[in-house]
């Protein structure tokens, strides 16, 4: 363990740690562009120069491992002068039209220029012009003029996805990032190159020109796209609703979690939030009697549900929960089933086609909380419930979130089952053909509108937080179920998701001892599961 001194502060770091990481531990930021902890070291940008005592000239910090007794200075005049000169080189051909650039506000060139720049450029010549607004693939747009050739994107495609679509072409100041002939940036992790691009060279085609980044608010969340449970930041636009056609969720960015997704996330998760602001969202409780729809108040809707449950004996009532629901919702459903004596509870619905899976992040199971539902013992046979329904032995059916028509089952089977039940109750954020057939459709909040936890496939319980207010009259599923429970006379004291989680921790052994506090930002493992090795760079 080498012990070194940086700017007068001593620190001991593991052998092999480079000076940027060592300084980061001390809270000292060494400016850099090309260095990324998830990629190999390129030493391209030359910005991370530091002074090391007993070395004759400034040295790049990214490629210098910390050694014992090293004395490093990051703020000497010589270092500052070096940074200013390097910045001047970076800006020789970089257009100075920050306001137009979509990266403005989160651009490291802008940030370091303000800190270290030479404010009066000495460059008199015409800048080199390069292609602008070149689509590299379905998600990424390249502006070669804005590129500072840090090569992070090239290294990402070479090392992490190992697809190698990108390269640096031409020479000297005509060098530019480009696609290899015949290649397109179509790998399943292509959105990450936008995140790691320190400047505005690679922008997101989906997000480009939609909202300025300084209008966005960030909330820590968990990707609901598959069982991996990648940690994400949800960026929402609450303040300027006229942007992006009123869509409230502007984009999703990966959030670093050493044990789950590290810095990355897949494109499917990154662009999969559209249902939150989709026109299919349910906003009011609706009763549907023989084609006649009537809007209900929540009180009326809950009374109608309780009425239906009261009319049907428990053995003729069934619940199809959803692995898209949070642990809190599932436990509330479990509590409801136990209180009413309902034994036909299932959640596992076959997908229309098997999901894509790779050995990096993407899981075949496209539901975020299958593991949680399994741990709670809700794993009844759903196809059996449907058969019973077709045979008129299930008369009240509660369906959560699922569109049963968009599954591996035959549509005619599902239709005859749903037509056979007396009361079909649908609870979920988005309408579907199932909710259209439901006698009662109750709007639930989407995951970004509420608190909750998902359990990933490896048994990691991770928390997501509300980024937005609910749409219309929607309320979280745990609250809907809680109100139904309360209306049937069961004692319900939970008024927050956290209360349901406490009940879950007390009621299900796998969750014993977990609290929102102990889960924190990085998640906690359920009892009896060991964390698996973090996803290694490969796709």
């Amino acid at each position: 363990m080498p012990k070194l001194t940086i700017d007068g502060k001593e620190i001991e770091v593991p052998a092999g740690t480079n000076l940027i990481e060592a300084a980061r531990r001390l809270g000292i930021e060494i400016p850099h562009y090309c260095y990324h902890p998830g990629l190999s070291i390129a030493g391209q940008c030359r910005l991370c120069m530091v002074d090391i005592e007993k070395t004759p000239r400034p040295t790049i910090a990214c490629n210098t491992p910390a050694t014992d007794g090293m004395i490093v200075h990051t703020q000497t005049d010589r270092v500052k002068e070096t940074r200013r000169s390097i910045m001047e080189f970076h800006l020789i051909n970089h257009p100075l039209d920050c306001p137009v650039c979509d990266q403005a506000g989160e651009c490291w060139l802008q940030i370091y220029y303000m800190q270290h720049g030479l404010y009066d450029p000495r460059m008199k010549d015409e800048k080199v012009h390069k292609p602008k607004a070149v689509p590299l693939g379905p998600h990424v747009m390249l502006d070669a003029e804005r590129c500072i050739l840090c090569s992070r994107c090239v290294r990402f495609c070479d090392e992490v996805t190992q697809t190698g679509e990108l390269g640096i072409f031409n020479r000297g100041d005509h060098s530019e990032i480009g696609l290899f002939p015949g290649a397109d940036l179509t790998n399943k992790y292509s959105g990450n190159v936008v995140d790691i691009c320190p400047v505005g060279a690679l922008t997101d085609r989906d997000f480009r020109f939609q909202v300025r980044v300084w209008y966005l608010d960030t909330t820590k969340s968990i990707c609901p796209g598959c069982a991996r449970g990648c940690n994400i930041d949800v960026h929402v636009n609450r303040r300027r609703p006229h942007h992006a056609e009123g869509r409230r969720v502007a984009r999703v960015k990966p959030r670093f979690n050493e044990d789950v997704n590290r810095w990355w996330m897949c494109d499917e998760g990154r662009y999969g939030y559209g249902f939150v602001d989709a026109p299919t969202r349910l906003v009011l409780p609706v009763r549907n009697d023989a084609g006649e729809t009537r809007e209900l108040s929540w009180g009326g809707a809950i009374a109608a549900v309780v009425d239906a449950l009261g009319r049907t004996p428990a053995d003729q009532t069934a619940i199809i929960a959803s692995p898209k629901l949070a642990n809190e919702d599932l436990f509330a459903i479990k509590t409801l089933a136990e209180a009413r004596g309902i034994r036909q509870v299932g959640f596992r619905v076959p997908p229309p086609e098997p999901g894509y899976e790779d050995d990096f992040l993407i899981r075949a199971d496209k539901n975020p909380n299958t593991r949680g539902a399994e741990l709670m013992g809700l794993d009844g046979k759903v196809d059996k419930i449907l058969n019973e329904a077709t045979a008129h032995r299930v008369r009240s059916l509660l369906v959560f979130e699922h569109d049963l028509f968009d599954t591996g089952w035959r549509e005619s089977d599902v239709r005859s089952a749903l037509e056979a039940v007396d009361t079909l109750i649908f609870v979920g954020p988005n309408g579907s053909r199932t909710s259209d057939r439901a006698h009662l459709a109750l709007p639930a909040s989407a995951w970004v509108e509420r608190d909750g936890t998902f359990t990933s496939f490896e048994g990691r319980v991770q928390r997501f937080r509300p980024a937005l207010g609910a749409l219309g009259e929607a309320i979280p599923t745990w609250e809907i179920v809680g109100r139904i429970l309360a209306a049937t006379g069961a004692p319900v004291t939970a008024t927050r998701a956290e209360h349901w989680f406490r009940a879950l921790a007390a009621g299900v052994p796998a969750f014993a001892g977990l609290t929102y506090q102990s889960i924190g930002d990085t998640g906690a493992m359920t009892a009896g599961t060991a964390p698996q090795a973090p996803a290694e760079a490969k796709a």
Binding site: D97, P99, P131, F209, W214
Partner: protein, 179 residues
Amino acid sequence: MNLGQRFYLREVLSGLGLTAGHFFRNMGKHIARSLGKKDARGAVTIQYPEERRPLSPRLRTLHRLVRREDGSPRCVACMMCETVCPARCIYIVAEEHPNPEIEKMPQRFDIDLGKCVFCGYCVEACPEDAIRMDTGILEFSAYDRQSMIYTKERLLSLEPAGTDGRPRSPIPIPPRRHP
């Protein structure tokens, strides 16, 4: 107050005397001026709206969007003005410009003059000199809030004031007196 004061007669008469004094003094000055005495200047009434006061060139008047040579807006939809606007009365929606050198242009650029406080920050923030407050138009009253929202097309159609400070664009006085 004593009885004399409670009748106000003395005060009324002294007020009338002051008004009459100004009237006759002004009349004398105007007569002297029309008779050739150039340095005599009486009080002036401007017959608005037929006559207008000269405006300072620095005065902030109704906004306009500056056009490129081909008539398209010079605005690149960077939203600096929208960001800086303390009244939050500017609403911009950006779209991709067909020319990648320009990159961006406003698909929608609305100013809600019902909210605008005429601070001029939008003009100062603009990196392209695309928005100016030099039309010389001070009258943009309307009968409803919707007509106070100036769209991109309307803002683009406005001309800068002439060198004498007079507006060259038609003053948007609502045509309907009774909505």
